[in-house]
């Protein structure tokens, strides 16, 4: 038996919330499209695999996989559009961008890892989990790494 409709509705609401809070680069209309496409693909998978029988953890893994695929599809379309308009590139100062990444590369290894994950969008408990640190360690590495990064950027400005 396939999953209950209300379970899909709850999953949809959760995906909407996740995409809204985590996908900074997407316009609202693109977020709606993403969730819609992801739900369609999840429903297709459910018809083939009976997701409910395989447990909530599996459902979330499927949801993650289709959302990542959809994000990348949207990203490719966005890059194509930008390639035509060149608008985004004019907003980014390439020198500052290179400098930021160079400074990041000069951080101590664990601080660089913590800061990279944090600036990529992970919260402290998520950084801790990914790197298998305690939350306290992750928090310290992020704070100290950000301080170091600011100091290196200031040095570069002088």
């Amino acid at each position: 038996m396939a999953a209950e409709p209300q379970e899909f509705e709850a999953l949809r609401r959760m995906l909407e919330r996740t995409v809204r809070t985590r996908c900074y680069g997407l316009l609202a209309s693109a977020r709606d499209d993403l969730v819609q496409s992801a739900m369609l693909r999840i429903l297709e998978r459910d018809r083939r695999e009976d997701l409910a029988r395989r447990g909530a953890s599996y459902v979330f893994k499927v949801a993650q996989s289709v959302v990542v695929d959809e994000l990348r599809r949207l990203g490719r379309e966005r890059r194509l559009a930008e390639g035509v308009s060149k608008e985004r590139r004019s907003l980014v100062d390439p020198v500052s961008g290179i400098q930021l990444r160079q400074c990041l590369g000069r951080l101590e290894e664990r601080r660089r890892m913590a800061v990279t994950l944090h600036l990529s969008g992970l919260r402290i408990p998520e950084v801790a989990r990914a790197a298998r640190w305690t939350e306290k360690t992750a928090e310290n590495l992020i704070y100290r790494g950000l301080d170091d990064l600011r100091a290196l950027l200031r040095e570069g400005e002088q």
């Binding site: 996740t18 996908c23 290179i98 930021l100 998520e126 989990r129 939350e135």
Partner: protein, 230 residues
């Protein structure tokens, strides 16, 4: 993003990416593994190196982390927030733990007409606890369950903790609105027990001056989909 203030560094970081990433993007399974702490050191380092040139994968990893945390609800150790800035929070957390212990031995039936059943507990603290009342129904379908409570004036955030009746923590989330949609994964708990799963929940409101307001402990029952009223 919650956590340390980054002075716009996150935005600058995303804007600093080259037009094309320096390596091929990792498979979704790799991001899932990273979000669940399943990658080896070198694998995670390779991913971090890629993240420094690919904003899209950063977004994808953040989404993966959120979904991974929904997939495995667990209450974790008390969060290592920068407590010194929040005077009184430590006392609140201690009281919360004490409250959770007390309801093992001291349960009272739900007051008539209340939402979630309230478990009386004397915890010797929690001034203002009476200000928070449950607005959600005690029995809810396991999928789509939602907790709601009366808002606390000027509260910045609410921390919600759920545990089983034997005080095994199952979910811990901080929200800004006085409501919380429970994750689908909790439906598994309801499926594992005939008649559904009884959960205890409590809210801690954080005020701008650092004080906290604790709710009483409420009880709810998650009913598996087959038993839920249609």
């Amino acid at each position: 993003m919650t956590g340390p203030r980054d002075d716009g560094l996150a935005e600058a970081f995303r804007a600093s990416m080259p037009a094309q990433p320096e390596q091929a993007c990792p498979a979704p399974e790799t991001l899932w593994g990273a979000a669940r702490g399943e990658l080896s050191g070198p694998e995670l380092e390779a991913l971090a190196s890629h993240l420094r040139t690919c904003a899209a994968c950063g977004e994808a990893l953040a989404v993966s982390a959120e979904l991974a945390s929904e997939a495995e609800p667990r209450v974790v150790s008390l969060p290592p927030r920068r407590i010194p800035r929040i005077a009184g929070a430590a006392a609140g957390i201690t009281a919360l733990a004490a409250g959770l212990l007390v309801f093992l031995v001291q349960r009272a039936p739900a007051p008539p007409g209340s939402g979630g059943a309230e478990v009386e507990a004397s915890r010797g603290e929690a001034a203002g606890a009476a200000a928070i009342r449950s607005l959600s129904t005690e029995e809810q379908p396991a999928s789509g369950a939602r907790l709601q409570w009366t808002p606390v004036d000027r509260a910045l955030r609410y921390r919600v903790q759920l545990s089983t009746e034997d005080l095994h923590p199952v979910y811990d989330r901080t929200v800004e609105a006085p409501a919380l949609a429970l994750p689908l994964a909790l439906a598994d708990l309801a499926r594992q027990r005939s008649g559904g799963a009884v959960l205890l929940w409590q809210v801690e409101a954080l005020l701008p001056d650092g004080r906290t307001v604790l709710s009483p402990t409420f009880r709810m029952r998650l009913v598996p989909p087959a038993d839920a009223p249609r």
